[in-house]
Symmetry: C2
Subunit: 209 residues, 2 copies
DNA sequence: ACAATATTAGAGAGCATCCTCTAGAACAGG
DNA sequence: CCTGTTCTAGAGGATGCTCTCTAATATTGT
């Protein structure tokens, strides 16, 4: 007993992603999103209580969609080194498959107005980052390297480094080259092989790389 | 035969840097800068023809100040590997010494309205990036690795990776830890040691690439 | 002292955006 | 058909920002 929606939430968020990729988080205005899908601004406000909510949702949806495959890759292999390589590849290939959403990932939650988010949105964000931190720490432990410094190095290898590669090309406007996944994997391998405190020795499995 | 300025260019640019570090490039508004130094908006427009010019100047001044020391580090040593390590350290230590300006470096020229820049500003920007590309390519060649892929890997090792380290802490709001320079150097060393096509050998040697 | 000039000072027009508000349209169920 | 709910539709106020314009002011050289 209700009128079916002409513009649903995902449709609006898709438009928000396009805007963010094109003009940055600041370009995600309620009117820009409305115009993008051909809706009046009232329809956008019907779905989201305000701009902060829209920004939070578009950021969280993107991050969660990315993390979905990322965790799968991270847990794809019992060997920590191989799992790390798979994760690095995933960052690049996911970005290749979803360039607009990848452009979003290059920003941070602060750029999407985290300061104005609701409790619930903050909670969702925290949940995600805690999960990432835990996975990275456990992978570092599996590699035999513990402590915050090792975890930081693993984070650099498995997240920041592949993202840098993507950022470089998105900023330049050039498409990701075909060998980008290989390059990311190689670089990650190199970093993991020189973890502080260790040089190279498997956790439970043999194999170096 | 002229009245001395109460608010000079550098003072206004310093305020712009503070604003950009605090609220991103979008937060650099003419009125925010004016209020920051306690000047009326007219004084800001007396120095800069418009917002695009202010954004261009603050971006270029920051990049050029950074590059000044960066190139010195890159050319500090005839051995390419040592020079690369010095460059990576410089990225981190400069960011530690100039946190607000480092926050700016984490953005890109596009975020500072490059699309609206004057010919001259575009020229200054191009000049800088050409010089960086040249230095990286020459360092890659000195390492015996040629081709765009090797250059890209060197860029990752000498720029993006140390910047990622800085970004991680600036985003989190935590200060750069004392060992950050060491960590950057180690990671860069690891990457340089595994350049595509090579593994390890001195500077002028034949090359595979 | 006087003229010339660079600069401050700030009001206000023009514009875009965020958000509110009211009116009505489309559809499911009785 | 009729009722109730969800949603579209878009006008309009409030706010904030860019930029212009006029007038006043401080300083130097003569």
């Amino acid at each position: 007993m209700a009128r079916p929606p002409r513009f649903d939430t995902d449709q609006l968020l898709d438009a928000a992603v396009r805007q963010a990729a094109a003009s940055g988080p600041a370009g995600v205005t309620m009117s820009a999103v409305a115009k993008d899908v051909g809706a009046p601004s009232g329809s956008v406000y019907h779905r989201f209580p305000g701009r902060s909510a829209l920004l939070a949702e578009v950021w969280l949806r993107t991050v969660e969609r990315f993390q979905e495959g990322y965790f799968t890759a991270l847990e794809s292999d019992a060997d920590a080194r191989r799992a790390g390589r798979a994760a690095a590849r995933h960052v690049v290939s996911w970005s290749r498959a979803h360039p607009a959403e990848a452009a979003l990932l290059l920003y941070g939650a602060e750029d999407f107005g985290r300061a104005d988010w609701s409790e619930e949105h903050l909670h969702r964000a925290d949940r995600g980052s805690r999960r990432v931190r835990a996975a990275l720490a456990s992978l570092a432990a599996a590699l035999g390297a513990e402590g915050p410094r090792a975890t930081e190095c693993v984070a650099l290898a498995l997240i920041d480094l592949p993202l840098s590669l993507v950022r470089r090309h998105l900023r330049a406007g050039t498409p990701l080259p075909a060998h980008a996944e290989d390059l990311a994997e190689e670089c990650t391998t190199a970093l993991l092989s020189s973890l502080p405190g260790r040089t190279a020795s498997p956790s439970k499995a043999p194999a170096t790389g």
